[in-house]
């Protein structure tokens, strides 16, 4: 990975403070022979300090014994005034073999020492070592800055806690999400931020009963800001180990905007539901009365127009129902009353309900039932909805004079309903999309066949919600068989 900084190949600036001209030149020549090194020299302590603060170097080599301002004073001043967050190594040069001078210098903040006369190789090796440490330190800082820049900038709150749920790190977004831009979340218990997290297992980093997506749990919760205001978040948690310490990492997304949009969608759908159904009640109702002939006979042509209007009014009604159904399924709010039901009865009912359409489409509709009844635990209304959907599709895509066969059978613990037609079949390129919403092989079908493009998408979700499966086989030009299976139940059908 290129983190933008090479550990050893950066330009290092060294300030060399030495009053002895011979020693100064000797050391300067050695240092200058090193690659990527810039050497600044000072002939006494005063000049050294001036040059240091004018343009702070990356490292200092400092003679301890100098007239007036000596090395100890220079060292003290540097350590007192220089920004301590930037590590600045100082190597002092001592004049004696005794430990006294270097020890005093260490206590004042020196990092290393050499004894005069300075050995060339020792100087070279020490400088190279410090250079490597400074390089590592800089690349670390650089990485840390990169990570901070990313974690602070992303619009997701990131929080880690220890095993007891105490926050030990968070990014800027998490702070701001909770309205604590000034102070920090660190040290707070997670339950202070998310009240509902009480029954969270911080050791295992799991929420009891929460759904899992790609190995990560995602749950919606109410979060509480510093000022007591609550807002919705989506929380996901994962377990990690940092330096041997188990931790929980939380990802928090503020759902305020998303929930507002969802609320608007719900309101919109509820308006659709009421405001469209009310006029449709009058339209379909009035047409139904006219059609019944109870207000007197109509000329044939007028009757045909009334029939046409009524048919389309009912189509609009089905479309509204389909859209609302689909939304309810997507939101997981479809209420299903699962009870042991007779598959034979439901299949029979599905076929009976479609006999009118078959007749008007001049399609022969036949039914094959097994001798023994099959029982499945399902919502009978919803299963009949799936059946009528599959049967009406088969009828609509059959030519006049064609036939549609509905079969119920038992296969390995499953009740299987098949609806076969001998129509045009499904084009290959459409087979992938057939159960996705608003898909019809031919856009013209929407008008000519009167479908919403939602029927199969709804059927699939309904069958799957009842523990079953749905599928089809089709040969273009030969016809299609749509089928669905439901697990058989040992329970008994109750009235």
């Amino acid at each position: 990975m290129n983190n933008g900084l090479d550990v050893e190949d950066f330009l290092m600036r060294i300030l060399l403070v030495e009053d002895d001209p011979v020693m100064r030149t000797f050391m300067r020549v050695i240092l200058q022979s090193e690659p990527n090194m810039e050497i600044e020299v000072a002939a006494d302590g005063k000049e050294g300090l001036e040059k240091f603060f004018l343009n702070p170097p990356d490292m200092v080599i400092l003679d301890l014994r100098m007239p007036q301002v000596d090395g100890f004073e220079v060292l003290e001043t540097i350590r007192a005034k220089h920004d301590a967050s930037v590590w600045l190594p100082v190597i002092v040069v001592s004049h004696s073999d005794s430990d006294e001078e270097p020890l005093r210098a260490f206590r004042l903040g020196a990092d290393d020492f050499m004894v005069k006369p300075v050995n060339k190789e020792i100087l070279q090796r020490k400088v190279r070592n410090f250079r490597r440490v400074i390089g590592l330190q800089r690349s670390n800082q650089h990485l840390a800055m990169q990570v901070t820049a990313v974690t602070d900038d992303i619009n997701v709150g990131l929080i880690t806690t220890d095993e007891s749920g105490i926050v030990n790190w968070c990014n800027q977004s998490a702070n701001c999400m909770f309205g604590i831009c000034e102070s920090e979340l660190e040290g707070l218990h997670m339950s202070y931020l998310l009240e509902e997290i009480r029954n969270f297992d911080f050791k295992e980093c799991r929420i009891e009963g929460a759904a899992e997506v790609n190995g990560m749990q995602r749950v919606r919760m109410k979060a509480t800001k510093e000022d007591g205001e609550t807002f919705p978040v989506e929380l996901s948690a994962s377990k990690l180990t940092v330096r041997g310490e188990p931790m929980c990492a939380f990802e928090l997304r503020d759902l305020t905007d998303i929930e507002r949009i969802e609320e608007m969608k719900r309101e919109f759908l509820s308006v659709i539901n009421h405001e469209l159904r009310t006029p449709l009640t009058s339209i379909n109702g009035a047409l139904s009365v006219l059609k019944s002939g109870k207000l007197g006979d109509m000329p044939d042509k007028a009757m045909r127009m009334i029939d046409l209007a009524h048919r389309n009014g009912q189509r609009l009604h089905r479309l509204i129902n389909d859209i609302l159904d689909f939304e309810k399924i997507e939101e997981g709010k479809l209420d299903m009353q699962l009870k042991p039901q007779s598959m034979k009865d439901m299949t029979q009912n599905g076929v009976s309900a479609m006999e009118g359409l078959a007749k008007s489409s001049k399609v022969r509709l036949s039914l094959k039932l097994p001798d023994e009844d099959l029982i499945a635990k399902v919502d009978a209304d919803r299963i009949e909805q799936v059946m009528t959907n599959l049967i009406s599709n088969a009828i609509k895509f059959s030519p006049p004079g064609g036939k549609v066969q509905v079969r119920l059978s038992q296969r390995v613990g499953q009740a299987v309903v098949e609806v076969q037609d001998w129509g045009a079949g499904i084009p290959d390129e459409f087979t992938q999309r057939i159960f996705t919403r608003f898909s019809q092989a031919d856009q013209r079908d929407t008008r000519t066949k009167g479908g919403s493009g939602l029927g199969l998408a709804i059927s699939k979700r309904l069958v799957e919600a009842m523990g079953g499966a749905i599928g089809f086989e089709s040969i273009e030009g030969k016809g299609s068989t749509f089928y669905f299976s439901l697990p058989l139940s040992k329970e008994v059908v109750c009235g």
């Binding site: 539901n273 009421h274 159904r277 009310t278 006029p279 449709l280 009640t281 009058s282 379909n284 109702g285 009035a286 139904s288 009365v289 059609k291 019944s292 109870k294 009604h317 129902n321 309810k328 209420d335 009353q337 209304d381």
Partner: protein
Amino acid sequence: MGNAGGAEPLTRIMCVEDDPDIRELLQMALEDLAGFELHLAEDAETGLSQVQGYAPQILLLDVMLPAMSGPEALPQFRQLTQEFGTRIIFLTAKASQRARSEFIELGADEVLFKPFDPVTLGDTLSSLWDNWQA
């Protein structure tokens, strides 16, 4: 909610419905086609002030009404019609089994969904009434 009179045929129906077209449709369905006596009210307040004078056998109560909704008005309608044993049916556009169970829970005798078919509405009410009388 037993009916003291035994098998009394259904004749008097009251509907509370705010949409004027649907009121007209109800009139067509229940008066002209089914031959019942029908009393219409356009909101819950009007309905409440008239229900005792009319003493309906069945009250069709729209759920979404201006000011006071059907479910809000239900307890008062119940109280005012206790002596007549009036059956109260909600009429709603909120078509789902859950909505149905909710409204039954609230105390409705039955729930009918919009859109309804005016040609068969009279028969539907008659057979409900017969079941309740049985």
